[in-house]
Symmetry: C2
Subunit: 228 residues, 2 copies
C-alpha cells in the first residue's frame, strides 16, 4: 500500500463524495444541474469542485468510468469453465440480474448508453473473448464477432432499460431467456442453450460484497461505486 498522508486521504474523500453525488444525479438523469447543487449533495464547498475537476463534463465522465470499472470487477469474480458457452451465458445472466440488485449502478451505465458497446471494460471484452473462443472451438457457428458482440451488448442494454422501466418483471427470467436467445444466435441447439442457462449461478450478492484481502472487512463508509 502506498504511503498516504492525511492530506491525500482528505483529498480522496472529497473527490469520492463528488463522484458519489454525480452518480446519484446520473441515476436520476439530471446532469444539467448547477455545480453548486452537486457540491451541496456531496456536502463539500463549491470551491472544492474546482480543486478536483475542471468542469461538470469531466466529473460526470469520471463518475461513469468509475461505475464501469466497478461493474467489470464484479464480472471478473465469476468462475471460469472449460466450455466458453457456459462462461458466456454466466456473464449475460449475471449482468442482467445486476439490474435488480444494483439499480443505481445500472442507471449510471445506462447513461453512457450505446457508447458502452465499444468499451474496453465490462461485458464487451468478456463477450468478445468468449464468442471468439467458442467459434475457435467449433462450439459456436462461425459468425463475425465484430457484429455479434455489439448485438449482445446492445441487447443487454435494452433489457436493462426494460427492467428499469418495468419494476415488476422478474430479472432472473429475463436474464436466462436473454442468454438462451444469444446462445441460439450463436448456433447452439435450443435444448443445449436451455440446459446451460439452467445451471447454478453464483449468488449475485456474494459477488457484490467480497471479503477480499485488499478491502476492509468492516462495512465501508459510503463511497463511489468503485472501491478505491
Amino acid at each position: 500500500m502506498p504511503t498516504q498522508t492525511r492530506f491525500d486521504q482528505r483529498r480522496a474523500r472529497t473527490r469520492a463524495a463528488l463522484i458519489t453525488a454525480a452518480q446519484k444525479l446520473l441515476a436520476e438523469r439530471r446532469t444539467n444541474v448547477p455545480v453548486l447543487e452537486i457540491t451541496q449533495l456531496a456536502d463539500v464547498g463549491l470551491g472544492s469542485f474546482y480543486n478536483h475537476f475542471t468542469d461538470k463534463d469531466e466529473l460526470f465522465e469520471t463518475a461513469v468510468d468509475d461505475a464501469l470499472e466497478h461493474f467489470g470487477s464484479i464480472l471478473d469474480k465469476l468462475s471460469d469453465h472449460d466450455d466458453p458457452a457456459v462462461v458466456f451465458a454466466q456473464s449475460l445472466r449475471l449482468t442482467v440480474r445486476l439490474c435488480r440488485s444494483e439499480p443505481e449502478l445500472t442507471r449510471v451505465l445506462l447513461h453512457r448508453g450505446l457508447d458502452i458497446t465499444v468499451a474496453d471494460r465490462g461485458l464487451v471484452p468478456r463477450a468478445r473473448r468468449d464468442i471468439e473462443a467458442g467459434i475457435a472451438a467449433g462450439r459456436f457457428r462461425s459468425t463475425d464477432s465484430r457484429i455479434a458482440v455489439p448485438i449482445v451488448a446492445g441487447g443487454a442494454l435494452a433489457l436493462a432499460a426494460l427492467l428499469d422501466t418495468d419494476p415488476v418483471r422478474n430479472a432472473g427470467n429475463v436474464a436466462d431467456s436473454f442468454a438462451v436467445d444469444m446462445l441460439c444466435m450463436l448456433g447452439l441447439p435450443e435444448s443445449d442453450a436451455v440446459e446451460i442457462c439452467g445451471l447454478d449461478l453464483p449468488n449475485v450478492d456474494d459477488l457484490l460484497t467480497p471479503t477480499s484481502s485488499t478491502e476492509s472487512p468492516t462495512s465501508p463508509p459510503p463511497g463511489p461505486l468503485l472501491s478505491d
Copy 2:
C-alpha cells in the same frame, strides 16, 4: 387538404426551421446550447422560439419524434411477403443500411438511445409483429417476444452506433450479417437465414424520395426530416 392560410404557412415554416436546426444540433450531440444559437442556426428571431416551444427540451423532443416518424414512414414502404421471416429480415437489412444513406437521421435517433426500444413507431412495432407472426406460424422457435424485440432493437442501435463510429465498414455486410444472426436467434437453420438475407432488397434511395401523390414533385425546400 385543409385550407391553410399564409399565416399558417408562415408559422409552419418557422417551426420547421427550428426543428431542422434542432436536428442538426442533435446529430452533433450539442443539445446544451443557448436558445439564441438555435434560432440563429434556424435563421429566425430569438422571440420566435417562444412562439412555438416553451423550452429547449420540448423542441428537442419534438425534433426526435419527427425523425422517428420519418423513419417509420420509410419502413412502411417496404413490400410485404408471405413469410414473416422475409419481412422481418427486410426491415433489419434496410434499417442498418439507412445508417449510411441517412446519417443525420440515424444520429438523431441514436440520441434518443435506448428509449427507442420501447417506441411505438419505427422498427420496434414491426419487429414485434413479425416475430409474433413467425412464432404463430411455427416458422420461429417459441421464444418470448417481449425479450426478443428489445434484443433486436438494441442490437440494431448498437450496430448503428458502430457504423457511425467507423465510416469505412460496409453497411450492407453488417446489415445482412445482423439479420442472419437474428434469424438464427429465432431458430432458423443458418443456411435458411443466409438465403433469406441474400434476397433482393428494394433500393434504399428509392424509398427515401417517393413520388407519392401527397408530396410536391418539385424538389421541396429544406425542411425537417419529417415531411409535413
